[in-house]
Symmetry: C2
Subunit: 322 residues, 2 copies
């Protein structure tokens, strides 16, 4: 399942409105097929893996991060049917598909055809892998990642506005890789006016994966840019399940105030700036209200900078809504 | 030597103007004596370990974090002589004593008496262990640790001044343990007026280790407090090799501007405050000047908070003085 989850990452940010699924088919201990949801959402991961496996799929085990779909469409047959036809003997699936057209029906159909089915395997990892798809289904908006490149004292720029550079080349390369995992990037008008950022993916081989550019602005955007008037309007962005909010601090505060951030990507350089630009108010009543909202998910060094990834802590939210 | 270094920590913050040394005596694979510099600087670690070892010191190996002193004083004999008299066969020492009354003479005298001597063992660790003593000798002032308890966006308090609490109980307990490792703690007048802090060590069994309290102020301090008018005046604090600067951000900035901080103790809570109090200007000309000053030494979780310890990066300083 770890291999299927890794394959699923290949599609992240390119499969909306479909989920980015990963699939691997194993026969007698040998991998005979690999698949992941292709750009635009089709073919599905299972279809790609079955095509690679051919006759070797007969009697094989299929590992897939999401329950195979039970609904055929004009763009392809139901994956549950394709797996049965190919003679898959055993299915190991991550998340049950929340799409009401499947939602357990895929597994049911496979079981009915004599396939051994295990579902809910590595479910937490599968859920994280498809956070964009799930957030769209659950909250009707993209999964939002907020990126901040900071000094140890929280400055994203000097008071003069200069931010070249807080972080080093390794952290900046990683930030470009993150761009490639999002359908769209959003900045505020201040950042656009100051930097007129390209927001492209400047990594060898990934130039074609540059996401769409969104401006947070009540007036019309420049050529090649879409606009949203308020953070809440991101719900209307078509084919966008992953949105990266890149700057500046006013825009970050607007999204945080609206409680529209699911993940923090903090790149922290080992420097002190002092008197720099930091996050403005986010509507906090008191310090108690600040706690229990974020949970550390990942921490690593990138050169001399540290990357920390925090995720919205829904366990606390459920207990203590703010 | 690791055991001797651990023993040396017991004296940290209580031995000024003497170094906090650790010592262990091993005979035929058995530890026969342990010692560490006692409060006020005497007895020395070697004297304490030799007293414990008694006759078992004959033919034994002595591990000590600093070269044994070669100079007798009214407060005790030279440790080099005591080790020779006790019949130590082998000496393994960390740092060569920078005190001109010893500075290699201790090792020389031991070698002259037929003792096998290895010096410079775990020297970097020994140097860090005695950073207070070395900074006093080298720079004529205490080793300064700056403590900041921050949110992810660098706030040490809300805009209202409220800072109870940014960090959790584990981090606060650790901060109290750090207090016990310093001869003195300094705060600014603003922090004193707002909080009238006790600055004591609220940990079971360590109440007696509460450090002296220093106020950064041009006017007279309250009862039980010493004062320094400027950060540079810390050089005049008697019997203070380790100074902990605890707040607030104006005081932190004053010490950073004066380039008088050797170590950063950053306790970072998984919260965003927004618009809070952050570090004011520290006289930085541009971002380039901010880099190369700090090196991550330690990082650990304390409950849901993260402690990061940064040390002054002298390698960079030597190359590129700012």
């Amino acid at each position: 399942m770890a291999a299927a989850l890794a394959l699923a990452e290949r599609g992240r940010g390119r499969t909306a409105p479909n989920p980015n699924v990963g699939c691997i088919i194993v026969n007698a201990g040998r991998i005979v097929g690999r698949g992941w949801t292709q750009p635009g959402g089709r073919p599905h991961a299972e279809a790609m893996a079955l095509a690679a496996a051919g006759d070797a799929a007969r009697g094989a085990t299929c590992y897939v991060t999401l329950e195979p779909c039970a609904h055929a469409s004009s763009r392809g047959p139901a994956c549950a049917d394709s797996l049965i036809t190919a003679g898959i003997a055993r299915l190991v699936a991550g998340l049950r598909d929340p799409d009401p057209r499947t939602d357990g029906l895929g597994a049911e159909r496979l079981r009915g055809a004599g396939v051994e089915v295990a579902m809910g395997i590595a479910e937490a990892a599968a859920r994280r892998s498809m956070a964009g798809f799930i957030t769209r289904r659950t909250n009707g908006r993209p999964f939002v990642t907020l990126k901040l490149a900071q000094s140890l004292d929280g400055a994203v720029a000097m008071a003069s506005g200069s931010s070249k550079w807080i972080t080093g080349p390794e952290a900046r390369a990683h930030a470009h890789l993150e761009r490639a995992r999002h359908e769209a990037i959003l900045v505020g008008r201040g950042t656009w006016q100051a930097d007129a950022p390209l927001l492209d993916v400047r990594l060898a081989g990934l130039g074609a994966r540059s996401p769409r550019r969104i401006l947070l602005s009540r007036s019309e955007g420049p050529d090649g840019w879409e606009t949203v008037a308020t953070p809440g309007d991101i719900a209307m962005l078509a084919d966008t399940d992953h949105l990266l909010v890149e700057g500046g601090v006013q825009t970050a505060a607007a999204f945080l105030s609206a409680d529209l951030v699911d993940r923090l990507l903090l790149y922290r350089a080992p420097i002190l700036v002092g008197g720099g630009l930091t996050l403005p108010g986010i509507g906090l009543a008191d310090l108690t209200a600040a706690h229990g909202r974020w949970r550390l998910h990942d921490s690593r060094m990138l050169g001399s900078d540290q990357l920390q990834v925090y995720e919205r802590d829904d366990r606390q939210r459920d207990r203590e809504p703010v």
